[in-house]
């Protein structure tokens, strides 16, 4: 597969024209139709965040469509970028075109990736950076595949909500890493639920309960900031806590089934077992009662404690049946079980996204993932404070977790939230 195969594609010239217009921030509609009109135009990935997920996403995109190359990479750390480049190049060297001058390291690496001629940005850094990177990518006129969650706090959520329409106005696609929405079994199951297979939904449950996750032992040469970044799961300003970082997947499925988001959260949680300083300051368990319109409730659990019952699941209770969504099973009058072949959703999400770009009808999944992220944040806020938190309170929260400026150096670990004492801001 030669690079020329793509640069010589017939509509390359048109594509340059439209992306240039977008880069300049010009806004005229409809701008992008024709952008991938040939169906084979080169997708040029710029990867921001070169960890295991970002690396996996590039390989998923390679597998998901023809005519995909990697042209620029950025990460806070040189070693992460190097290992990612090596992993991707192992079996896909022909699709990698990332010379030294398109490898960017540091907190401003994303700016350089966005200034390259990449036209398909993958955002896979810790989620705390997401709103900043997403806003910059949309401003630069790039199509974006963004990992979940989309933000970690109210200000970030508001920033991203504003980008939903901006992206549409610019003809830019935004796909989100909520891959269950591209997973055959989930799609088939929820189609039936939405067609009334269990009647009206009256209650729901969902969980992401598992054991401990990875952590990286602190090295003597690491500053506080580097240590926190390399252990980003355990710091709310970076991950949003595990209810946001991980459980957002299950919450998203319930929002999808409900067709809306909850209006309030009544939550509790704590830090019972994973208490050492190596685990940052996040909780190890949450239990949230989410209230949807019409007094329909979702019981959500998120736990990361070793040796306990595990469950990563979503269940819906209808007035005419029940649905165990993760098992693709419906019981009741219209009992049904998915018996088809499931797909590879992490690949499919790129297949679907790239097809939408080439068809000139870019997907925009930003609103859904932002609502689901805010749902999780609302639950976290309720558990942290011990108070009920409404959708509007969470959305309008002024608590900005990202430090105003970030350099490698000292940084205190935020205090562990104490329900009843921690205040909602």
């Amino acid at each position: 597969m030669s690079a020329d195969q793509f640069t010589a594609a017939p509509s390359r010239r048109d594509f340059i024209k439209t992306t240039t217009a977008a880069t300049l921030g010009l806004s005229f509609a409809p701008m992008m139709p024709g952008a991938y009109a040939s169906g084979t135009d080169a997708i040029r990935i710029g990867l921001i965040g070169c960890g295991g997920r970002g690396t996996g996403a590039v390989l998923n995109a390679f597998e998901g469509a023809e005519g995909v190359k990697l042209v620029a990479m950025g990460d806070a750390f040189a070693d992460r970028l190097a290992s990612s480049l090596s992993e991707i190049g192992k079996e896909h060297a022909a699709q990698v075109d990332v010379p030294k001058d398109r490898q960017f390291v540091g907190f401003d690496a994303y700016r350089h990736v966005l200034a390259s001629d990449a036209n398909y940005i993958i955002l896979a850094t810790p989620p705390g950076f997401r709103p900043i990177h997403l806003a910059a990518a949309i401003a630069a006129g790039k199509h974006v595949f963004t990992e979940k969650p989309i933000a970690v706090d109210g200000p970030g959520i508001r920033q991203v909500f504003a980008l939903v329409e901006q992206a549409k106005a610019k003809g830019l696609g935004v796909a989100a890493g909520t891959q269950r929405r591209h997973q055959t079994g989930y799609l088939e199951t929820l189609k039936r639920v939405q067609d009334g297979a269990i009647g009206k939904i009256v209650a729901a449950r969902c969980a992401w309960n598992q054991g401990f996750l990875w952590k990286k032992d602190r090295q003597p040469e690491w500053s506080d900031v580097e240590w926190q970044l390399r252990n980003w799961l355990y710091f709310t300003w970076l991950s949003g806590d595990h209810i946001v970082e991980q459980h957002v997947h299950n919450i998203d499925v319930v929002n999808w089934a409900m067709g809306t988001h909850p209006v309030a959260a009544h939550g509790m949680g704590g830090r019972q077992v994973r208490t050492g300083p190596e685990w940052g300051h996040i909780f190890d368990h949450f239990s949230i009662d989410y209230e949807y319109p019409g007094n329909v409730h979702l019981h959500s659990q998120a736990r990361q404690i070793q040796g306990c019952e595990g469950s990563v699941s979503e269940a819906l209770v209808g007035d005419r049946g029940q649905c165990q969504v993760d098992k693709y099973a419906i019981t009741g009058a219209k009992a049904w079980k998915f018996d088809g072949k499931d797909n590879a959703p992490y690949v499919q999400e790129h297949t679907d996204f790239i097809a939408s770009l080439r068809a000139g009808k870019p997907l925009n999944e930003l609103k859904n993932v932002t609502e689901s992220t805010l749902t999780a944040i609302m639950g976290r806020m309720s558990a942290y404070t011990g108070q009920p938190v409404t959708w509007d309170q969470a959305l309008n929260s002024t608590e900005a977790l990202m430090p105003p400026s970030l350099t490698f150096g000292p940084m205190e670990v935020p205090p562990v939230p104490m329900p009843g004492r921690t205040k909602l801001t």
């Binding site: 295991g52 996996g56 996403a57 992993e87 992401w208």
Partner: protein, 326 residues
Amino acid sequence: MVKRGTVLAACGIAALAAGQPPSTYTETIPGTRVSFEMVAIPSGHFTMGSPATEKGRTASEGPPHDVELRAFWIGSTEVTWDEYDLFAFSMDVERPSSAQPRPAPPSGADAVTRPTPPYGDESFGYGKGKQPAINMTWHAAMEYCRWLSAKTGKTYRLPTEAEWEYAARAGTTTAYSFGGDARALGDYAWTRENSGERPHPVATKKPNAWGLFDMHGNVSEWILDQYDAGYYRTVQPGTVGPVLLPGNHRFPHVSRGGSWDDEASLARSAARRGSAPDWSRRDPQSPKSIWWHTNALFAGFRVVRAVEEQDNLKGFRSTITRDSSQ
């Protein structure tokens, strides 16, 4: 069952030195209350593979060929989560209560690499305890055996494909160890027909004639051998301890016995299956985990221990690393 030969006395085990055949024993994992039973399997020979007339059979099961095996022990059950958790989550070296001092790791076992934690629930909601451990990679199962060996001072490993089939047949030549009629399978096995689409606690069905549970069904069991559909055509009849040693590729390895998620024909004594990259289809990371699959909820294993190890398996271990290709 045909029993041939006697176990050599040079194996350094007291009971055997006296010319006694090996006997069944219970192993308690040191420092824990977790135990499992190892059933003695005498040396012997059998016909490996299936005849062309066997219902559900595939070409990879032929030609049938005569195989000789030395004596060994094999777990009476599949490895349970009670056992596997000790290894996978270092529950043998860490105590859940921080009030207790952390004991020093046992010598030897400390050098064994441990799985990285999965991003998700490794039990898939099926529960733990006496449930068979599932969804681990072949590499992880191999490393479990190294860990168990270091803990116990005895050399445990995965069964070779020949050992597994010999033990599963328990002297029979029929499709199943209880005969050729799959209608009786439900008395012996959890398969798609009766499992309710989930694995079940080990040893809750009838054992075979040699006292081994769940050789048919429940979880499909990792085998030490690399999978090659044409391998049987290359084995000389009468070979002692045939084994196809794997290299450092992640796939394919043999998995045997069928599972709760499979139809009856995959639970036959001769049925073969090779692992494949789509067993990790939903792993979002790259490199993908070398410890956990994401789509092999049907995969587990049991351990064996040679009475006298064959030369080509002495010290054999997985060479798979994060850099290994598929």
